[in-house]
Symmetry: C2
Subunit: 362 residues, 2 copies
Amino acid sequence: MTEKQQLDAIRQQIDAVDEEIQERINKRAALAQEVARIKLASGDDALFYRPEREADVLRTVKERNQGPLDGEEMARLFREVMSACLALEKPMSIAFLGPDGTFTQAAALKHFGHSVNTTPFNSIGDVFREIESGSCDYGVVPVENSTEGVISHTLDMFLNSPLVICGEVVLRIHHNLLSPPGYDWKQAEMVYSHQQSLGQCRHWLDQNLPHAERVPYPSNAEAARHLAETGKDVAIASSEAARIYQLDIATHNIEDEPGNTTRFLVIGKQQAAPSSKNKTSLLLSTKNEAGGLHRLLAPLAEQGISMSRIESRPSRRGVWDYVFFVDICGHIDDPEVSAALKILETEAGMCKVLGSYPEAVL
Amino acid sequence: MTEKQQLDAIRQQIDAVDEEIQERINKRAALAQEVARIKLASGDDALFYRPEREADVLRTVKERNQGPLDGEEMARLFREVMSACLALEKPMSIAFLGPDGTFTQAAALKHFGHSVNTTPFNSIGDVFREIESGSCDYGVVPVENSTEGVISHTLDMFLNSPLVICGEVVLRIHHNLLSPPGYDWKQAEMVYSHQQSLGQCRHWLDQNLPHAERVPYPSNAEAARHLAETGKDVAIASSEAARIYQLDIATHNIEDEPGNTTRFLVIGKQQAAPSSKNKTSLLLSTKNEAGGLHRLLAPLAEQGISMSRIESRPSRRGVWDYVFFVDICGHIDDPEVSAALKILETEAGMCKVLGSYPEAVL
């Protein structure tokens, strides 16, 4: 066979596969419509979006993936298919902590796919308010190890908000050294970035730019924008920011720890049902007395529930009181979680469930 | 059956369909790799991206689509599948006329899918230079009825560039009246937007904001940004710009003509092979003498070739000379186009083929 004949033969096979893919995507969409019809008939109309179901679908997709496309890219395509099927009913509107081009936007699109409308807001408080008022269906805000802003503010918002956590998104974060086009980055006298990003690249900066002053900025995107305006010095930010502000990437992946991730929360009005792997976030408070925290955590330990994270915050309600944000493995519908919560509700000064939601599908 | 049993039964069907979709997407990716292997073996390494092939795949997808997903959404999903398969070899880098959030970016992502890197540039000239230098693989620039900048500049660039047109993208354009949050748009004393957008909404503005001054801006995105800074008056721009600059959409779709579209060109170094429906763009020149243009177009008419567009521009090379940008139906490999070109090459002062490329898949 000539090269052309070989290629033509393969392309005919691709065409045949495409027809099968298309037929099945439409079959899937029709089945999704059937789900919606049944729910509408029973008045269950608000729950077309089921985070637990989507998480399980994506987990299955990644587990059974044989390649050659890698599991993450395949999950991305399935996210888009689900996003398109869901938009048949009504495209969702998603609020996120802006500006555009931040990791938070990337997290929102990773989680919901591109058949949704995403809207940036200036503050975490604004994101909460948009959802509370019903202007947006869901929101995405950074919560842990983020480079975009003050994250503890996200936790504080839950103190007074009726919203619940219905999902989490984990992004692998790479940091890049950005410089204005044509500028020799070794001449830089200043390195601009969010405090956390500066910290995450400390070792690299010590080695490569020991004399440059490290200047904290409210967000990496703003540091990049500053560079674009002044035309000198360097910033640590994403490749996305380099594109948006037309900066060169002087060096890729300068983070000291490979595998650096940032975690985001998906917030909304409805609690998610259990998926195959869940987390529950709790807000607990106790008197500031010896052994207080230890006693508080006893019910969890007794039920064999593992804790993935704890963070203490001043409650702002009393001089000596503290609140704790605690993430545990499991769903409030799990018997052991439910048993532990019953005890906590009587023993803790406050015990608020911020949400049970599917563990992030990386 | 209870509602839950019904839903569970449908979800099992969805899971089975998902497995079939996944298996076939990976089969497609493996076939695409096989195509790449054959091409590499024959030294044909630069041509992994075949615009004519992609256009034909998308046309077929839309033609055979039975729903419930509509043809455009299905084509979007296939664009992403092809984008992912192509990125298995090497993710392409696409330059576009920025800033971010313009229609041109939307056009680039519509055409290439999300498995590419897109980079904004400040001018059409910069986009051309990035591709000529090899920094980017392809570029996307507006050419017709755009709201983003001076379009004739795109055509002028071809006078001195070795790049060719290897595709076109057509976007349906909707205009929206944007206002700062909380501002009563009826109080506006100024309406900011690109001259063309102001023109395209003239009737609506006459009816609804007859006393507001219409102020032309270099782009709709910049008009929106201006509004975000001043906090008063209104702008005409896309819903994307409203999201980026956090403005309210006071009124949707205020364009006088529904079905308003903007056309973009995909530019690169390689000529596209024929797809099932093609266009060819020509640059022709003639002496400014009576009947000059008529004689110039005779070879096209004689070969029965239809013209989809003609635009005259001063050539800047001689006092009395004009150049014409002419779009015709067909590919330079078609016998009638090739015959007409042979005659044009001897009769026209200049006859440059700017590119033969697949007609846009809407």
